[in-house]
């Protein structure tokens, strides 16, 4: 397929000037909402996403109560103004599927057994969307869960890799996602070395698949450092270094 505009030039530079394995700028803030038990705000490229957590709280309707663990609820929603053409505010099939995979990506990290007969609600609102919004949403949501003081095995961090012009690249933006050859969102629990979300589209050879998958894990670990820094700033003030967190943990 001949592309009208090249997504990656002969020097390996992408449209926004990044190299194949570079991330877009990411900023994270924890504890930004007053009412929520926990919250986090992420800007990742043009993504602007707010995640808020309520709970553990009473389960309504009551027949959904789980006797041995918490019910984790998750809604990924895009604001009507978050995309080029106004999006109908009713949840689309895409959003329903993404809500499901985000829940399944977060639940392994949450020690749901610690909160029987309760609900933990995770609301992810995409205020402005760019490529990789589900990964950004997961990254923010796991911080919001931590901010809410929910017991967790690990943080969860998402990063998407993919193919543009048949080359493996990290962290696709909107244009690269739409015009590229494939997208592979991956979420991991970095300390436990486990994958909690994996979706793939595009046509990958076996080698490309492995390269993109391993790159997503590597980049996820990089973003995990930023998550820790954001939590440090939340609980130990802006000046604190993550070494202080380790001390505090000990």
């Amino acid at each position: 397929m001949v592309e009208a505009k090249r997504l990656i030039d002969d020097k390996g530079k992408r449209l926004d000037g990044r190299k194949w394995n570079e991330l877009r700028p990411i900023s994270l803030q924890v504890g930004v909402m007053k009412n929520a038990d926990g919250s986090a705000y992420i800007e990742w490229g043009k993504n602007k996403i707010m995640a808020a957590v309520y709970g553990p709280k009473e389960v309504h309707p009551k027949h959904q109560v789980l006797p041995d663990r918490a019910l984790l609820r998750c809604r990924y929603h895009m604001a009507p103004f978050s995309v080029d053409e106004r999006k109908n505010p009713a949840p689309s099939r895409r959003e329903i599927e993404i809500s499901k995979v985000i829940r399944e990506a977060l639940e392994p990290a949450v020690i749901v057994e610690d909160y029987p007969r309760t609900a933990i609600e995770v609301w992810v609102e995409v205020l402005q969307s760019d490529g990789g919004s589900r990964c950004a949403g997961i990254t923010a949501a796991s911080l919001a869960l931590a901010d809410a003081g929910i017991n967790m095995r690990d943080l969860v961090v998402g990063c998407s890799c993919g193919l543009i012009e048949d080359e493996v690249v990290s962290d696709l933006d909107d244009t690269e996602d739409k015009e590229g050859n494939g997208d592979m969102p991956v979420a991991i629990m970095p300390n436990l070395g486990q994958v909690t979300l994996l979706q793939v589209d595009g046509i990958y050879t076996r080698e490309q698949f492995q390269k993109a998958f391993e790159l997503a894990i590597e980049k996820g670990k990089e973003i995990y450092g930023m998550q820790r820094q954001a939590l440090t700033e939340r609980f130990f003030g802006g000046e604190a270094k993550s070494s202080q967190v380790e001390e505090a943990a000990e």
């Binding site: 984790l72 099939r93 895409r94 329903i96 599927e97 809500s99 499901k100 995979v101 829940r103 399944e104 639940e107 392994p108 739409k178 494939g182 592979m184 629990m189 436990l192 070395g193 486990q194 994958v195 909690t196 979300l197 994996l198 979706q199 793939v200 589209d201 595009g202 046509i203 990958y204 050879t205 076996r206 698949f209 492995q210 998958f213 391993e214 894990i217």
Partner: protein, 270 residues
């Protein structure tokens, strides 16, 4: 449809399965990487442009294709429309209900659609009549008739078989008008994507899980590959984790098993 309805019975069954799997055996005596018997019948609905009934073990899905003309999406003015949808009928299981599609049914339809779309099975550029104005629209609707696990693969095979045997009217463009002729032509099918789903029970991956196995699994992964052994779509499911090594193991199994199933699908659609 994973159905965890009877906790005690399922916990006992799971323990039994894990024990059997340690010795490389399954409850129904299949090998770990062996799918259930697959039966594909095509052309059963005369009013559809193409149709297929797939029976995978006791799971049964009917897919029907309806083709018409319509307006392309604004971002793909030179491509036809291909939409795959799936519904789990209330008759398909004692646990299925009528009403708006469940989260599960939506995921099923979207994962199957992704495999077909991303593999570029149908050359959508050949379905363009007047760029930006008129294209051929292909709707594939799937009815899950009976649930016995692994709806993802059964539905995907039904779609591939139905599309592979579909015929559409030949359309002519005359002075910006679309004219339908009486001549029937095949849908431009270029590839045969094959979806292979693996479930993890204990620490073992098994291909093509039955309902009984789905109740005991903690993780599911669906991988679609094309004729060249490329990976076109993947979806990990269930609230559990998978190690990177196990992902790659699943990919290799899916490529290998997919090859054998592709032969069966091609045989049924030739």
């Amino acid at each position: 449809m994973s159905m965890k309805k009877n906790y005690v019975v399922e916990t006992i069954r799971k323990a039994q399965m894990v024990q059997l799997l340690a010795g490389g055996k399954r409850m129904d005596e299949r090998a770990l990487d062996q799918p259930r018997p697959l039966k594909i019948e095509t052309g059963l609905i005369q009013k559809a442009n193409g149709s297929a009934r797939v029976t995978l073990g006791n799971t049964q899905v009917i897919a029907g294709v309806k083709i018409a003309t319509g307006i392309p999406f604004p971002d793909t003015p030179d491509k036809g429309l291909l939409v795959v949808n799936a519904e789990i009928l209330p008759m398909a299981s004692p646990y299925a209900e009528p009403g708006p599609p469940s989260e599960e049914a939506i995921e099923l339809a979207r994962v199957v659609d992704r495999g077909i779309r991303e593999s570029e099975m149908v050359d959508l550029t050949k379905l363009c009549l007047i760029p930006g104005k008129s294209v051929v629209t292909v709707f594939v609707d799937c009815n899950v008739m009976n649930v016995d696990g692994n709806l993802f693969d059964a539905t995907s095979y039904a779609v591939v078989a139905a599309l592979g045997t579909s015929k559409m009217k030949k359309y002519l463009v005359k002075e910006d008008k679309i004219e339908s002729t009486e001549e029937w032509v095949p849908v431009p099918v270029e590839r045969t994507p094959v979806s292979v789903t693996l479930a993890r029970i204990g620490d073992k991956l098994v291909v093509d899980p039955s309902t009984e196995e789905e109740a005991a699994m903690d993780m599911r992964i669906t991988i679609t590959t094309d004729d060249g052994g490329n990976i076109c779509a993947t979806q990990k499911g269930e609230a559990s984790t998978i190690s990177p090594a196990q992902v790659l193991q699943a990919v290799d199994t899916s490529i290998r098993v997919g090859k054998e199933i592709r032969v069966q699908i091609k045989e049924a659609t030739k």
